[in-house]
Symmetry: C2
Subunit: 679 residues, 2 copies
């Protein structure tokens, strides 16, 4: 199996004793020491200063994970003083009662052959250091150890989050918990819980029970479960920011409470994706009374200082079509629907301020006279982020980090939240609190969520934690592979999802050719497929696309090899490996054709397998011209470039992941990017 072997050699080679370079995110500073500290069943543990139940539990979990890592029992006692060869935790205090943006997360680690000391001002800082410690464990033929070193680490941004959409597809508590475990591993600290949208209202309300009873298909979190998730997150140093998206994206509210909608009943849970026009009626006092009472009920569940009101994609359709609303708006002097939404948001601000909550909302809430404590979360791009900061609002970046857009990790990693060209003042730069990746769930269920979130979220986590200068993409990919192993070991289905789904789709068939196809083929991006697929709420996500992996290994391998050839067209090793990959991919077609006769689901692979074979053939030919130093015929080159361009589009529900890199190769062959220069 040449493809997988070649990819393995490219991606998975970790030199012995290089565990310090497996850290993800990279710490702010690391100084190697001399020697190592042996870790085994005799290693002692000490908590030498402050302690509380959160720290104790964290240390219990740490010891359990360490025992699994070394395959041996670890010492069952924890002392109050450091002893020789102990791992000692020295924490100054509890930190904030409710973890906030201001929480101190920095820690230091000093490891020598005589012992390890983790120092932190707060328990949360200690949690971050414990994750680093676990990543540092390395082995040789006989012994596990920690390398001698000192680390002084702290995050670049205080807000490092993941939004999980549980409305389009519900995610059970177990799924959220494993996501939180994994977030803690890469030092993320905000779980943004997108709890309501057109397709489902997901929290039990005792005051307004028709919200969850009629708006959720029975798929909602009880208040006990919410408390459990919030506690679980807090134990891992993660804040929980709830989002109830209003005034738009609100169909599910109105199934039980149509009286607060601008629209007339009956209103049913939306089963299609995108573009709903349900919206709150902002002109009635009853709306605000309802929302105030609802928020008052929810506030005790969500202790975080921030409250997300959504506010995105407000369709003005019903605000325009109901004469009473139009008249009201004019009477009150709001010049357009944007002004009307700003009015709605000011009313919300007042309600939230009563509970000492700071309001967060998406780009569209930005309006000059909004309270300056409001935080604007950008889903439309870095430019919008800069706009918010320039107007004096705290800002969060999200737009380029939508994981459901199925972009390669490179793209997420190379985003700079505070780009130089924006010319923000230092004070304005300070307003950029950080950012959040997001996993919107139209095409994502609990079953595939791990594989859609990870390992790419690791790239975002590092961008938000590590110094700006940490930008080596190749090294990031190397460490994402290790992260994937760690997550698989914790039970997440990152790499293994694909096989599981193929077993569902085609029990008893040898799907190895499809697995090979999935090294160069991926789901299309959200924009590309939300129109083309014709699925709705009722479709089981057990199609071939649901088994494919985002950012397949062959894409990065191709990009990397093409880059090497761009620097040195006579790099024979790069050329031969590429040829080997292309050959493997083109030879898949007949094998896929055979499989396609045995399952309609596997037959979904045919169009993309054909296009992959063509792409590989063009790549092979381009390589031939390049290594012969001959110009290809102009008409062939033009036709091939056009053909490859078409292959950026999905073929059915799948898309070739290497077409743009092969296009670069073609450009190099035709002199567009001659050898010796970067493309």
């Amino acid at each position: 199996m040449p493809i997988r072997l070649a990819l393995l050699l490219l991606c998975c080679s970790l030199p012995v004793g290089a565990q310090t370079s497996s850290l993800l995110p990279v710490p702010a500073s690391l100084r190697p020491g001399t020697g190592r500290m042996v870790i085994d069943s005799t290693t002692n543990f000490a908590v030498t200063a402050f302690s509380d139940s959160r720290l104790e539990q964290a240390l219990d979990r740490f010891r359990g994970r360490l025992a699994r890592r070394i395959g041996q029992p670890v010492s069952r006692s924890v002392s109050r003083t450091a002893t020789p060869r102990s791992i000692a935790i020295d924490v100054s205090g509890r930190g904030m009662a409710v973890q906030g943006v201001e929480e101190v997360e920095r820690y230091t680690l000093a490891i020598s052959p005589e012992g390890a000391t983790l120092q932190a001002a707060t328990v949360v800082g200690a949690l971050r250091g414990l994750e680093t410690l676990l990543q540092l464990v390395e082995g040789d033929g006989t012994t596990f150890s920690l390398p001698a070193l000192s680390i002084a680490d702290e995050p670049r941004f205080p807000w490092r989050g993941l939004l999980v959409d549980v409305s389009r597809h519900f995610m059970p508590v177990e799924q959220l918990k494993r996501t939180l475990d994994a977030m803690a591993l890469v030092k993320l600290n905000v779980f943004h819980w997108h709890l309501s949208d057109d397709q489902g209202f997901r929290v039990e309300s005792k005051r307004f029970p028709r919200l969850h009873e009629l708006g959720s298909d029975g798929l909602y979190y009880t208040q006990d479960q919410v408390r459990d998730v919030v506690r679980y997150a807090r134990d891992r140093g993660i804040r929980v920011v709830p989002e109830f998206d209003i005034p738009g994206h609100s169909t599910a509210w109105f199934v039980g409470y149509p009286q607060f909608s601008a629209q007339s009943p009956p209103i049913a849970i939306r089963r299609e994706w995108g573009g709903a026009d349900a919206i709150f009626d902002p002109t009635r006092e009853a709306t605000y009374v309802f929302l105030a009472r609802f928020i008052a009920e929810m506030v005790p569940l969500f202790p975080d200082a921030y409250w997300h009101v959504g506010g995105d994609e407000v369709e003005g359709k019903h605000w325009n079509s109901v004469p009473r609303i139009v008249a009201w708006r004019k009477r009150h002097g709001f010049k357009d629907n944007e002004a009307l939404q700003a009015h709605f948001n000011r009313r919300l601000s007042v309600i939230l301020a009563r509970h000492n909550k700071r309001m967060v909302g998406w780009d569209e809430i930005l309006y000059p006279d909004l309270p300056k404590k409001t935080v604007v979360q950008s889903w439309r791009g870095t430019q919008y982020l800069a706009n918010s900061a320039k107007q004096g609002f705290s800002a969060l970046l999200s737009a380029p980090w939508y994981l459901d857009h199925i972009k390669p990790a490179t793209d997420y990693y190379t985003v700079e939240p505070v780009p130089q060209f924006d010319e923000l003042t230092p004070a304005q730069q300070e307003l950029v609190l950080g950012g959040e990746a997001a996993i919107w769930a139209e095409f994502i269920t609990a079953e595939c969520a791990d594989s859609r979130i990870w390992p790419r979220l690791g790239a975002v986590a590092e961008r938000l934690w590590s110094p700006r200068e940490v930008t080596d993409v190749a090294d990031m990919y190397r460490r994402l592979e290790i992260l994937t192993d760690r997550l698989e070991g914790m039970g997440l289905r990152v790499r293994s999802h694909s096989r599981r789904m193929l077993a569902t789709i085609a029990p008893g068939l040898d799907v190895a050719p499809v697995e090979s196809l999935f090294t160069a083929v991926q789901p299309p991006g959200f924009g590309q497929w939300s129109n083309g697929q014709g699925t709705n709420h009722f479709h089981p996500l057990a199609r071939l696309v649901d088994a494919a992996r985002p950012d397949p290994a062959g894409r990065w391998a191709t990009e990397r090899l093409v880059r090497r050839l761009a620097l040195n067209a006579s790099d024979a090793a790069a050329r031969d490996t590429l040829l080997q990959l292309f050959e493997g991919w083109s030879l898949l077609l007949p094998r896929i054709e055979r499989l396609a006769t045995q399952s309609p689901t596997l037959a979904q692979a045919l169009p993309v397998a054909k296009v992959l074979a063509r792409t590989a053939v063009i790549g092979t030919e381009a390589l031939g011209f390049l290594s012969a130093g001959r110009q290809p015929p102009a008409d062939w080159a033009a036709a091939s470039a056009q053909e490859l361009q078409r292959y950026d589009e999905p073929q059915g529900t799948l898309r070739v992941a290497i077409s743009s890199d092969v296009r670069k190769l073609l450009a190099m062959a035709t002199g567009g990017a001659p050898a010796g220069r970067s493309p």
Copy 2:
């Protein structure tokens, strides 16, 4: 990767349109029809006669699984009458209020291009038929369908179970539920819940709270959880038989209630495996009062008509060492401890009879004057089963089906519960109710349980369901592979456990050589390793042996190829494939040696990798002699045979799985089993 490729070609080839032959267990009778019934989103569902919420829920689950199988939404309504191209369920009645041994499980299936009808007398019968229906779904290049056929199916034995030990290692409810889902897939109908043993007492008792508070390390089922599991099982047509093992295997009871022990306090939860001597004091009335009150509390949780009292391995140590007990026994005329245990059991029988429970116990409870309603479960072999039946007791077979003994599926499959040579009368044969596989959990956690139970349990399930004549081992292995896919698709970690554990053990390392090693290397059997490993309750089961698979694919491949050569020594294809396998296994050693320098856990592979390489070399040489038709030198042959014999023993914690088959090959080469005759 020649090994895996060769194994794949051997094991995974399923001819197109052969889905009827993927059924597991094989039905009692099947008559193929003509044509097929297309299955898609327009397929209708009907429940034409009796219905209740259990059937409705089962049909809901069926429809959800069908939707996943075909990757399309299915019709959301269920009608009361069959329509063209509908799947119609025709059930006569509910069946027993509490499912019992007498429950009627038979069903018929009639499928034609015009529609499918499933008929059953009871809801449980319908559940069995729905599983068959799902296994029948097949595909071609464009369409999913069911083959036209008629099936009339019923089980050979009414008691088909799995014992799960949750005492040695606790299994969370989620793990039990996935086990129940999988059991339903292969039509098993008894979940034997081994709830207490020396290492843990696992059920909440409100009357005697120190049982779970002090006897479980906090790992126990609440009564709500017990009810939930029992309900979940009943919904799938599975009975739950609880076992509280007494009078021995009872250390965990006495941590909280030492007064009922023959031994003096303090008594702690046992942390070692095997051989505890804790035992109830059978001479005190207080013991029976306690047990009666405890059982009275538990009875409402477990509605099944049977109650398992354990009774195995009663160590008489304290019954002998406490003068008061010895004196009491003599005073009451019990000649030995066996008689004393029989007295204890008669007392239990009376308590259980009050609750209309029939007593079940292990071999050792067998005693002539026990009530004849008692059921004896044999853990010491088929001969003990026959003894029970001959003495008029109902009997269950378990001994040869201990899955933790890590025997190959062949061994489990070829057990005949009612062997001819036992010369049981027809009436005595009737007393054999069936049997239970067992997964004892000294070396098994929830994390690896799926991979230790499955797919081998499928072999036992078929033995207990299908006609006696269904005995084709090769076909069983072929279908176990398909079963594995189905289970993986449901989320179980059967095949995928190994990779997950390797990711835990060696994040960032390329463990492909270890995966190849695991095609011919396995955990040792219980007897072989329980002494050698030196683990106890506190050891994390994250060693290399915990990643290895029972009954690795290379073992069956070797056995099969050696059999072919035994029939025809000039079978060149068999010889070449064997040579290829042997070569692959012997070439692994240097790769394993390199890996072993990077992790002490991976270094555990070294001894067995060396022995595998030697085994493969001997096999290669034997093949050389065999195909040349030359006698090997006698001293070489004798030394090699001896060497292979040694390799039946574990090397550290792992064992070569092919040594006995290579020994057969060697015997063939030396004329021990000449070509043309079976070995």
